[in-house]
Subunit: 462 residues, 2 copies
């Protein structure tokens, strides 16, 4: 992995073109765009981008790359957040976004099989009238392949799980061109190592995921949303803990801190109280949703929660959640011309209030602008540093706050990333988090990709 | 792995004794007992059994074995069902049952950390008054280490998941004596390969699990059980499918076929209708449980379900479920002096009726006695062949029916085992199920255990 990658010579290019014709692109702007994700991390363009159309084609492309030990970087729509798609050593980007056929939707099994380039919204729209939905919602309209590779998560995870729980099986092309299907479609199995879970979250470093079978969920009979403001962060987080412990099957439970609420009011011309606020969503039968709302409203009141507004009608709900969905842009609008530097950690819920409060204090002390937003039911929260990327000093301070937050989370038995993944942005934190287990990850990587051609430099330092 | 194992010489024995004193046992009956599980598979005694007391001791024992390339077979309480603990090449059995300290119960995080030898009942009894329970219930009072190693499951899995979903983190001693902790305690993480899931279900072939952190669930406010008999198997299974699709969060949904119901009536002097029968359990708030029962009762009626008896009081419920719990012994009582040959498969739920019906027909045609019982919400079902183990012809016929059932399940995109695991009993079916993916499992095994000393012959043929 440390040898310099062979640049694309004419022979190699001809070989790729023999496989994928004019879907092999070396145009600088296309390469530029494919070496960069939505994060603040510097992009690294690949030497070529190939728009693959089938698993067989991926096999041929991987074999061609493997023969020259050229790096392969799988790409969906580039919405990752830790530099996952950067071609750190050049090489070939395999863009799978045109592999976007929904292969099967099986209502009776509540699952669907899709090519890796199908996006979550595409899948959901295709099922609109069938009473089913795919639950994992990371915000961006990412591809299922990308979401699988990064073990994506999002607002619904507290009830429906992350990609870890929602991928039933997948097809991957290994570094030597072999194709595996990681498991059958049965809901459970005790037949050997859990290769599905090994590939979920492997960030393209073990193979190229070309097909994914996901669980679907039934669209609930009733959905209700609610918002409540709290006197302080601790009160809000304690309400979350009490809700989870009471066994309320809440579908979403999101925390927005006072900085974020202020940003929202300004951005969306709203009049929310500028205090730590929880956004809830409840799914179930009509009766059960009412019961859930009553239980949580009572818990919120116990912790000083006010203004328990709730909304049943789709339009009202949409309006309520729009605020949450606008959070990122509202944050950026706090400072025109700025960029967002998004990061996330996840801790056991008992440590969540402490972790958020210490982080809030650290941010405030640093003089940076950075709202906190969290999928708090899972103990997961995000900080978006609203920075001027050209201000070296400011970037350094943001990175220092980020580093302290990550080490704080790890010290609390948490993780350096709950859902954004490692990419190359968090590689440095894995030794602190995993210790000797990192050597096991390395051994697995070596066993499956001895030449280190699969998305080198991600998860594991070369 | 193919070289004959070194028998226990005096030097080796002395080394083991230097580590674990008189907890190193070579007594024939102890060895015999440790080489055999609850299955029909022939036992293979290890050369010695060591009752380990700590992770550090396991490290020293593994190092001593590794230096001599002696096989290591981890052992909990021996309730596995596919010969998982058989010392096929001799070697040292590491009995972890005395590592039975509950290290922490954390109600606020709803998790608990335990040494591998803690049993599920021990953990549940320790939390009796805390409103929490550990949900995975494979029937036997297995150890958490053993349940983790075999990816155990059981009646509650349809609602609460299997060990795959309920293990948050674990500590394992690798084949070279290194100790890893597979992840932190956060509920979700995107920080690298999912080693937790890799070790869950690895059956002692990648390392010795010495500590497990599991999720806990809140004891529901209300629990209700119900039983309903159906005109035929298809009607019962279709009720299950409709229940799952309706999104009823049923906690248990068990099918007993007419052979099993007849066995139960005879064994427990009950008067159930001798027809395919579903046993349900509903968990939730008092209101939600009533609503669930009403929904499912209506669905059952649609499919001709009769006698929808339901029970709320703990004693009534216990009585109802006792029948389900007695299923195995009731089956054996059909034929005094017989042994049970238990096997399981799991298919996508759309194929469940077909798979069960074809299997029932095949059993009946074979002239064997074999009730079918299933955790049908997951598409998982069991057959217990009630056999005379000394009758070679009968055993062969049972094995043939089993083989046809497994291949049928695989052809329906199912798995050769939903929850019993591979052990050495189902090793032969993995190529049909996994194809090329089996080579990936082998590569991982080689990477972590190059000398093949960790429970050789299980999951992967040497």
């Amino acid at each position: 992995m440390s040898a310099p990658a062979p640049r694309l010579d004419d022979g190699f290019l001809a070989e790729l073109r023999a496989i994928a014709g004019d879907r092999v692109v070396t145009n600088a702007s296309v390469c530029e765009r494919h070496g960069r994700d939505e994060s603040y991390h510097p992009g690294h363009p690949p030497d070529a981008v190939v728009f693959a159309h089938s698993t067989d084609e991926v096999v041929a492309l991987v074999r061609a790359c493997a023969a020259r030990k050229a790096p392969i970087i799988p790409f969906g729509v580039g919405t990752s957040l830790e530099g996952h798609v950067a071609a750190l050593n050049g090489g070939v980007c395999l863009d799978l976004s045109q592999m976007n056929r929904i292969l099967a939707v099986r209502p009776e099994d509540m699952d669907a099989s899709c090519e890796a380039g199908v996006t979550r919204k595409q899948l959901n729209e295709s099922m609109r009238d069938r009473g089913l939905f795919f639950s994992v919602d990371p915000g961006a309209d990412a591809t299922l392949g990308g979401m699988t590779a990064t073990r994506a998560s999002g607002t619904n995870a507290v009830r429906y799980g992350t990609m870890r729980e929602n991928v039933l099986s997948l097809v991957a092309v290994l570094a030597d061109g072999r194709v595996i299907r990681t498991s059958r479609r049965a809901r459970k199995s005790a037949a050997g190592y859990d290769l599905t879970r090994l590939f979920v979250g492997s960030e393209g470093t073990l193979g190229v995921i070309t097909e994914v079978t996901v669980r679907l969920s039934g669209i609930p009979e009733a959905i209700s949303a609610a918002v409540s403001a709290f006197p302080d962060l601790a009160a809000a987080v304690n309400t979350v803990i009490a809700t989870i412990q009471a066994g309320v099957p809440v579908a979403r439970i999101e925390l927005l801190d006072e900085v974020q609420m202020k940003a929202l009011n300004r951005y969306s011309k709203l009049a929310h109280r500028e205090a730590p606020t929880l956004f809830f969503e409840f799914h179930g039968s009509a009766k059960s949703v009412v019961e859930q709302v009553e239980t949580v409203a009572a818990l919120a009141r116990d912790f000083g929660g006010a203004d328990f507004q709730w909304a049943i009608q789709p339009e009202e709900r949409a309006k309520l959640w729009q605020a949450r969905h606008d959070a990122y842009y509202a944050a950026l609008a706090l400072r025109p011309g700025s960029r967002g530097m998004a990061t996330d950690v996840c801790v056991p819920i008992s440590r969540l209030a402490e972790c958020i409060l210490e982080t809030r204090t650290d941010i405030d002390r640093s003089g940076l602008i950075a709202p906190i937003v969290g999928h708090v039911g899972d103990g997961n929260f995000h900080v978006v540093f609203v920075v001027d990327p050209d201000d070296q000093n400011e970037m350094r301070r943001a990175e220092e706050v980020n580093e302290r937050m990550v080490l704080r989370a790890i010290a609390m038995d948490g993780t350096c990333t709950g859902e954004h993944g490692v990419g190359y942005g968090k590689v440095e934190f894995l030794p602190a988090e995993h210790g000797e287990a990192l050597a096991v990850m390395r051994a697995i990587k070596r066993a499956l990709d001895p030449d280190g051609i699969m998305n080198p430099g991600k998860i594991l330092r070369p």
